[in-house]
Symmetry: C2
Subunit: 393 residues, 2 copies
């Protein structure tokens, strides 16, 4: 008796989450310490100390009714102003609280954006490999996700194919950099070229194309790599940000949208995002954590821990003969499978108690995603398994 | 460039929220103490002390990674088990954690339910007056909200009209008791008769009709009034609960669904609700507050404060000649307007710095909703204005 769309969803239920449950099952049999679960992007580094301090400060010093009460659906004005200032300081932009809509994480934010923008049959373009949930988010509003094939040379987006895929029905392009699942940062050269294409196509077709920048991994960039701030390159840009990874708060569901004044019809877009937040049932981003993150805008998780993991895993896999681009950000490694069938490879890995996600989930078969936001020891103990796998194949 | 549905929404933007903004504007001119804002259901009673204690305990004693991390999309198993036990203790039911899905408040929960159940054109029946957001929630999934006209004698639902409105397309009936906006509790006699009708109609049409019980005001019942627990009367019942009012935590967005094993296809419904939570962008209910409310399941807000407000307002209005059912629960009073045009009455009230919401917003013109979750003094200071209003009309 459930809806037809949900029947389909239940049938194809996310492979990533299924892995998560499989990990728990194996852990129950073999012990947690003997199962190497690289399937989920659940931060393994603790929130910075500022977060706990901020929670205690807010709870001990502020008025309970205002901490836990309703506010404007877009969020507390002072929190939004603090975020705008923080972005302005970092990127020389000139946002105000009006340009910020607090959201229930990036996932909530993207749903608000798609609800705001999409008419049925509108097309949203993305670049493989991409976070599989985009399919559902776009489908929630009867949009159509159009996928540009992966460029497996360096995993920068394939911009020539993008040109061909833009049509009169294109409403948005969504990108994610640092990227899940590859860890690649889209370079400034990429962003400049992408912006030029979008501008040309807007003109050619007489349409507006919104560029949606999904940025939960912005702060996780290694070796001081730059992540370009997209609103500076292309006017019709909407940014979706989340504190899930930057402050290790994925369960708290706190993030924001940036809707610049340069966006076409920005007043309508901002008003609609405010209403969409309410009617989709989010109502507002969780109130205590709005106040908490406002006190932690300069705090950072310990990136060195992820970096150590990255080096250990990358060097290990390379020495066994695996092929892989060294990730520049996020906490994922996207590795070519020694056999063509990535799903089969994942099944073989499972027999060595290693849980990884097939590239197929990200529309890029022939690869696996290894989430290295795990204990260093987990990588150490799993490496022999990876070695054995490639030797046996 | 925003979507057609959102264009409409921006145009008809919620009157309640507009009032909220109007209140802020008037307060800026006349001073907060001279504006009597009865427009919003924002609790005026502080969270019970247990909430602050629980936040401090969790943050000081539990591991940060597990407090703020991802968990199963349906929520922490131990939290869901604690909720199931608490319901079982109160209502002699026999739920387990499997029957509980943690949600981003009741609004999030209802969206999850509608996403789970509705195909386009499916009908959801509700009874006027009703919480206006139901229109949007049902429309989000292309369902059709069918409204049964109000019974203005005692505001119990009009069950004879319900019979006529059930069709082959009926997928669900949604009720809300204690009711927003009337404060009426649907009696056990009502619930028994409602259940009988639904059972008969299920048989007659060979369909499943889900009864959705929206219960954010369950704990706010005065004079020890009983609020029947609906799963005991009708098998196909899904309960949506929220801690927004019971613990004065509306901004934190924390609630849950109860999906009993007696619900048709309950395994599919539970699996779909879990997935809907994820793909709608909630991902999971905020994690810290899941852990907090599990420690506060027996805590209660100070109902005596709301009760004092209720008595003052009710007795005052009655003495001036207003007509109104004495609310048995929640913190709203639904008052007949001395003139037919409720919207006009609200405009006149605004001139006396009194903000109330027209019954039209709840599909019941000729009434106003007064949210008395305000300071006692606000009611004291507003009463002369109410008196003058009825005298002038």
């Amino acid at each position: 008796m459930i809806s037809r769309t949900m029947q389909e969803q239940v049938k194809n239920s996310s492979i990533i989450r299924a892995m998560f449950e499989e990990g728990k099952r194996l852990a129950a049999i073999y012990g947690t310490e003997n199962v190497y679960d690289f399937s989920l992007g659940n931060p393994s580094v603790e929130s910075p100390a500022e977060v706990k301090k901020a929670i205690l400060e807010v709870v001990n010093e502020e008025d309970a009714i205002s901490i836990h009460g309703y506010m404007n659906n877009s969020g507390y004005e002072d929190v939004r102003a603090a975020i705008a200032k923080s972005i302005n300081d970092k990127f020389s932009t000139s946002f105000t609280h009006n340009n910020i809509v607090m959201t229930v994480g990036a996932a909530g934010g993207l749903n608000v954006v798609f609800k705001t923008l999409l008419n049925p049959q509108d097309e949203v373009i993305t670049f493989a490999p991409f976070f599989g949930e985009y399919r559902s988010y776009v489908k929630n509003y009867e949009g159509k996700l159009v996928v540009v094939a992966p460029n497996t040379v360096d995993f920068q987006p394939n911009l020539e194919e993008l040109k061909d895929k833009i049509t009169l029905n294109t409403k948005a392009v969504i990108i994610n950099s640092p990227n899940n699942p590859t860890g690649v940062i889209y370079s400034e050269a990429t962003i400049i070229k992408l912006s030029e294409i979008l501008k040309e196509k807007q003109k050619e077709f007489g349409i507006e194309i919104y560029l949606i920048s999904d940025e939960p991994y912005r702060e996780l960039a290694y070796d001081h790599a730059e992540v370009p701030y997209l609103t500076k390159y292309y006017e019709n840009t909407i940014v979706g940000y989340s504190f899930s990874k930057s402050l290790s708060l994925p369960g708290e569901r706190i993030g924001y949208l940036v809707i610049p004044n340069q966006v076409t019809d920005h007043e309508d877009v901002i008003a609609a995002a405010n209403i969409a937040t309410r009617i989709l049932g989010f109502v507002n981003a969780p109130s205590l954590f709005q106040r908490v993150i406002a006190k932690c805008l300069d705090a950072k998780v310990d990136l060195a821990t992820y970096n150590r993991n990255r080096e250990l895993l990358y060097n290990g896999l390379l020495s066994y003969g695996y092929e892989c681009i060294k990730p520049e950000g996020a906490f994922y490694m996207f590795v070519k499978t020694p056999i063509e069938d990535d799903v089969e490879f994942c099944n073989l890995a499972k027999k060595k108690n290693i849980l990884v996600v097939p590239g197929t989930s990200f529309s890029c078969p022939g690869y696996i995603r290894i989430a290295y936001c795990v204990a260093y020891e987990t990588i150490e103990k799993a490496l022999p398994g990876f070695k054995a796998l490639i030797e046996e194949l």
